[in-house]
Symmetry: C2
Subunit: 237 residues, 2 copies
Amino acid sequence: MANKGRVFLIPTIIADDTQHKVITQQCRDILPSIRHFLAEDVRTARRFLSSLKIYDSIEALDFKILNKGSKEADLPELLAPVHDGHDLGVVSESGCPGVADPGAIAVNYCHKHGILVTPLVGPSSLLLALMASGLNGQKFAFHGYLPIDSKDLSRTIRSLEEESRKSGQTQMFIETPYRNNQVFKALINSLGRDTELCVATDITGKEESIRMRYVRDWRLQSVEIPKKPTVYLFLAK
Amino acid sequence: MANKGRVFLIPTIIADDTQHKVITQQCRDILPSIRHFLAEDVRTARRFLSSLKIYDSIEALDFKILNKGSKEADLPELLAPVHDGHDLGVVSESGCPGVADPGAIAVNYCHKHGILVTPLVGPSSLLLALMASGLNGQKFAFHGYLPIDSKDLSRTIRSLEEESRKSGQTQMFIETPYRNNQVFKALINSLGRDTELCVATDITGKEESIRMRYVRDWRLQSVEIPKKPTVYLFLAK
């Protein structure tokens, strides 16, 4: 059997123009030897790789699309370069592949086909938000997106709060930026006054704002969250 | 009121001699202006900062201990430099402060006293293990350490598996390295045969090994996990 290539999980920036701050030397050292990539969006991936100024030309790089529409049946073709002996990079649209993004199915395929997977260090808004929240980092859960319907949303928030009260688990979720203010209102209306709530917006970016308050204190303020990627975290006592 | 200093959350290496690979330029740029640190262990923190070769002398740096024995009542003294206008760095024993370590109480104090907290990008064995597991990265929970008593351990594993089956949540936990093989045996004996189990050892280190298999396949192998930091992840279908 021919030697297989390896798969590298390559983190990308989570805020514009931060590649010089947050992309590690490990990434810069490994990337030049990779010519094949899976990306959610080819344009973003090209722009990111180009911004690192480590390739003579990015025109020679091969990109295939791995997004939430990708199916298991697509994977043999997507991973074909690896079977042919080439290393391959999985690039997320933002942050770390495989976490809150569609990269996991490719990684799962790798494990089932004896392909070595190497995760590289880089920015993750979830992890950075958790670090900076001051909430319980010994026990936490990420729930992805909560329901959009306002009744379902309130019910879900209350149920996660009840679980947090019982277990001491920090609850984390994300929302699309244009819904930030709606979700924030649902949170301060649905959570108990003594619950600690952290709102972490535009982490590593120019408008980075990470604030944690008791819900009772949030209620006293006028809050406007910008339309930037935001992580919500809460812990009930 | 005098201007307060800021608090920076400074990730450290998670495997020996990897600082050139995984410590970002952001850390290297910010660190030289910080003279006051909170650390779990002063010797490790000094060694780490010294290894970056960015200080003329680390003798002039001020370290105070923040560990799992630290109480809320200790925080005003620990954060005193910030009230005096100095920036302060919180350094973990390994990886990211505030995640699976005692840093969170200091960050919580900051939010309650109007002190700005900035998390820096760096290695986290939990996040890297999740990325490379191929398990569900849209929904996951970290449970810290599981019980030591073997009956309690089996019961907890089964209950987490049941929860995972219902919710599709990846379950994550850690264990002290000398118990790796005991915990692994408990996992393959307690989990169902179709559950996917990932064992991620020494991430970023020389012995990095990240393997994900069905429990039924793990049972067919002879597995010896080295006494290195290991993250366990599983997902029931």
